[in-house]
Amino acid sequence: MFQKGFLRQLGVLTVAVLGVTLSTVKAQSGEPIQPLPTNIKINDSIAALGKQLFFDKRLSVDDTISCASCHDIDGWGAEAKSVSEGVKKQLGERNSPTVFNSGLNFKQFWDGRADDLSHQASGPVVNPIEMGMPSWDKVLEKLEGDQEYQKAANQLFGSALTKDVIVEAIAEYEKTLLTPNSPFDRYLKGDAGAISDVQKKGYELFKSYGCVSCHQGMNVGGNMFQKFGVLEDIAMNDRSLSNDLGRYMVTNNEWDKRVFKVPSLRLATKTAPYFHNGSVPTIEEAVDIMIKFQLGRSVPQQDRDAIIKFLESLVGEKPKGS
């Protein structure tokens, strides 16, 4: 028989432990936004292999595009273009989100169709308008002769270079790309002078306007889905924001029309242009659109600017591993 009695006890215990954990968290800070971790468990050797692969243009059909082509590591892990340019100058439909802190997102892609980084990494390589490889077999064929890769794969995974090895390694590298120790994180940890008064006011506005309802957690977003235009029809906006049906394309649920993953705002002020199709060039317009269509209200310029100042305080150090 299933050990139900024991299970119940364990359940009670778990809830108790959870309660203690939660109350501890609350005791540390009741804030909806939490600091980024400064210390994560990484296999450095696998991450090193992942970094090589991340920059390897041979992962594209004509050796022109690597992961780093659209996720500029020297920039802020994204690119300035509205939508990415794939092989043969083909344009995609969505804006490349920053790869920084992406390991903290609960799902990957704008529509959340990938559960984790390795799942995500397997997509663009064989996407015909991104890196354009006809198949993963062709990728492996291409890299078969690379002794360095084969040796590393054998050492780290005990196998030849496979799709799994490649995407796991890239994912491991991407996990290292965090931007910790932002002024706001330091403020959260008790350094009251880490951010300016305007930024403090911006944070209060960010909460009182309700931005924080969705942009919360340590990644200030990236842990839930939300409908674009929840209080106001996004089609009313003159950008092309309503064309993309978002998660509906994945689930076919009526409610999922124009539902997207709530993006992290950690690097929002560094990664223009904005939204899923990169159609909004400035942070000011982006904040305006959010407050109007998501929060169903208008915002004075002073408040909006304070909020933007607050968003600037979320930018941390560039990843060490980059």
Partner: protein, 576 residues
């Protein structure tokens, strides 16, 4: 079947059977471990499910102001289910079972729950904003309405705020339809309110309707989350797993039966082997007995052959001896016989003289004797006596008789030697005069020696040795016979020497014969070793001599050079 073949066959069967069982066994899952792991995984899922419920409630109650923990639990729950479907509940493995049906339904429930959590989070966030902003904008509008003395509108706004809040927070006593109506009623106040309030009225209306809508959806999803049957299905799932496991147990039973069959087969085969070994053992006993008997018979045969050989050697020696003896006796017998013939002739010539003596005696004793007749008779007597030749005189006869007597004595001495030799039994130890024994030997061996020259070089003052007369005679006889055979019948020279060597008397026989090569020399003392033609020698001569010398605590040493001759030395200890 050969035993080794049988044994190899049994080993082969044992090995194949063992490997088969191992293969069967290794293909079976480790049930205990699997049970523990599945149980642990299901417990984990149940706990994560509880966590998701708990954290959803906390989010709904604003106890948690972000979704990080809820996300962590949700992701962990999805992973845990996915781990099961990749591992123990692998589709291919459990295909067609109740477990598959239940697990599919379980997975579907988990997926639905995941979607519900996402929907809950989205609507909960919206609700949070609207239930906060609606009262805020409602209050502002109430003030504007009061300033414009629009009491009904102000009341509507106030009531809308209260009812919306009440509805959003804990559910209203008022029917949903009535609360839902506020949005439209607020919108309608736009016409009576000042123009600059239009935007706020729109916002208020939207947020009231959003709050009411989001509240229903949020609580709807929350209710579905909390009432999800995931936890209840876990028990069914575990029961299905147990059932599936027990079905797998059937294959374990098969393995058990196979093991029993294997053990039984092996026991039977070992039994056969034991039986074979036992009969083999019995046969072995019998065979050993038979062989022992054979060996005993062979040994006895050999022993008797040896005795017969020894006897025939003795007989052969005796034959040679008899020949020699016959020759020796023949000579004196010849002249004795001839002497007797001669004496007979001479006595016949004496008969007429003796007859005349009788006539003379009768006449002389007659009283009427005539002198003339007596004279005549006397004359005739003298004539008859004178007719006898000188050779027939009694002196001559005496000489012949004396010679014959000597011949008879010689024969007597030969017969004495013969008597000694024929006395084959081991006699008691006696004081033996070695030189005398050599003389006797040479006498008896005269026939074998023939024309070969015998040189004796015997020490005068030899002490006596302790031994058996006849046996020592036989030793010497055998050695001299060999020496004679090894030498040329005309040119052969055999030297016999005796000397005192420390506490031994050494008797050496040296011949100038063909000699013995080194290889043969090592074997000359072996019984039956002979270089003579078949039938000529028994090969026992030296062997017997050696045995006898050994029995006398003496030594027999042989040295030889091929082409020059052989020296056989017998050492006999001096009698104490």
């Amino acid at each position: 079947m050969k035993n080794s073949l049988l044994f190899a066959l049994i080993l082969l069967i044992a090995a194949i059977g063992g490997l088969g069982l191992l293969y069967l066994g290794s293909n079976l899952p480790d049930n205990d471990l699997a049970n523990r792991n599945v149980n642990a995984q299901l417990l984990k899922i149940d706990n994560l499910d509880s966590s998701v419920n708990e954290l959803s409630l906390r989010s709904r109650a604003n106890l948690d102001t972000n979704y990080d923990l809820l996300v962590r639990s949700t992701v962990a729950l999805e992973r845990a289910v996915s781990d099961l479907s990749l591992g123990y509940f692998n589709q291919e493995k459990i295909s067609g079972s109740l477990l598959e049906t239940r697990f599919n339904s379980f997975k579907a429930t988990a997926e639905i729950k995941s979607d519900q959590v996402e929907d809950f989070k989205s609507h909960n966030s919206v609700l949070r904003n609207s239930e906060k902003y609606a009262p805020m904008v409602g209050s502002q509008l109430s003030l504007i309405a009061r300033e414009n003395a629009l009491l009904d509108v102000e009341n509507l706004y106030r009531q809308a705020v209260i009812d919306t809040l009440e509805f959003a927070k804990q559910g209203s006593t008022k029917p949903v339809g009535e609360v839902s109506g506020y949005a439209d009623r607020i919108s309608q106040t736009e016409s009576v309110m000042p123009q600059d309030a239009a935007i706020k009225i729109l916002e208020f209306s939207k947020h009231v309707s959003t709050a009411i809508d989001a509240k229903q959806k949020t609580d709807g999803y929350l209710g579905q989350i909390l009432n999800s049957s995931l936890s209840d299905q876990i028990e069914d799932l575990y029961n299905a797993w147990s059932l599936w496991q027990s079905e797998q147990d059937n294959s374990q039973k098969v393995l058990q039966y196979c093991t029993i069959a294997y053990v039984a087969t092996m026991l039977a085969l070992i039994g056969v082997l034991a039986f074979r070994l036992r009969s083999l053992y019995n046969n072995l006993d019998q065979e050993v007995d038979a062989k022992a008997k054979e060996i005993k018979v062979a040994y006895e045969n050999l022993h008797s052959s040896e005795r017969k050989l020894q006897q025939s050697e003795k007989m052969a020696s005796l034959g040679q001896l008899v020949a020699g003896v016959a020759h020796e006796i023949n000579t004196p017998l010849g002249y004795i016989s001839s002497n007797i013939d001669t004496i007979k002739l001479k006595l016949n010539k004496m008969v007429p003289v003796l007859n005349k003596v009788e006539e003379l005696s009768d006449a002389a004793s007659n009283p009427s004797r005539e002198k003339t007749a007596l004279n005549t008779l006397l004359k005739e007597q003298i004539v008859a006596f004178r007719k006898i030749d000188a050779g027939s005189k009694p002196e001559r006869i005496n000489t012949l008789l004396k010679d014959s007597t000597e011949g008879l004595l010689e024969i007597k001495s030969i017969v004495d030697s013969l008597t000694n030799f024929s006395h084959v039994e081991d006699g008691p130890l006696q004081e033996v005069d070695v030189n005398e024994r050599i003389s006797s030997t040479l006498k008896m061996c005269a026939n074998v020696v023939g024309d070969r020259k015998i040189i004796t070089n015997l020490s005068d003052d030899l002490p006596m040795v302790s031994g058996v007369h006849n046996q020592i005679l036989q030793v010497f006889t055998n050695i001299i016979t060999n020496a004679a055979h090894a030498t040329d019948a005309q040119q052969g020279v055999i030297t016999v020497e005796t000397a005192l060597k420390d506490s031994d008397v050494e008797i050496a026989f040296i011949d100038n014969g063909s000699g013995i090569d080194d290889e043969s020399l090592t074997r000359v003392l072996d019984p039956f070793f002979t270089t003579k033609e078949v039938g000529e020698g028994t090969g026992l001569g030296l062997s017997i001599a050696h045995q006898i010398v050994d029995a006398h605590k003496g030594e027999l040493n042989i040295s030889s050079t091929v082409g020059e001759g052989t020296r056989v030395a017998v050492l006999l200890p001096v009698s104490v």
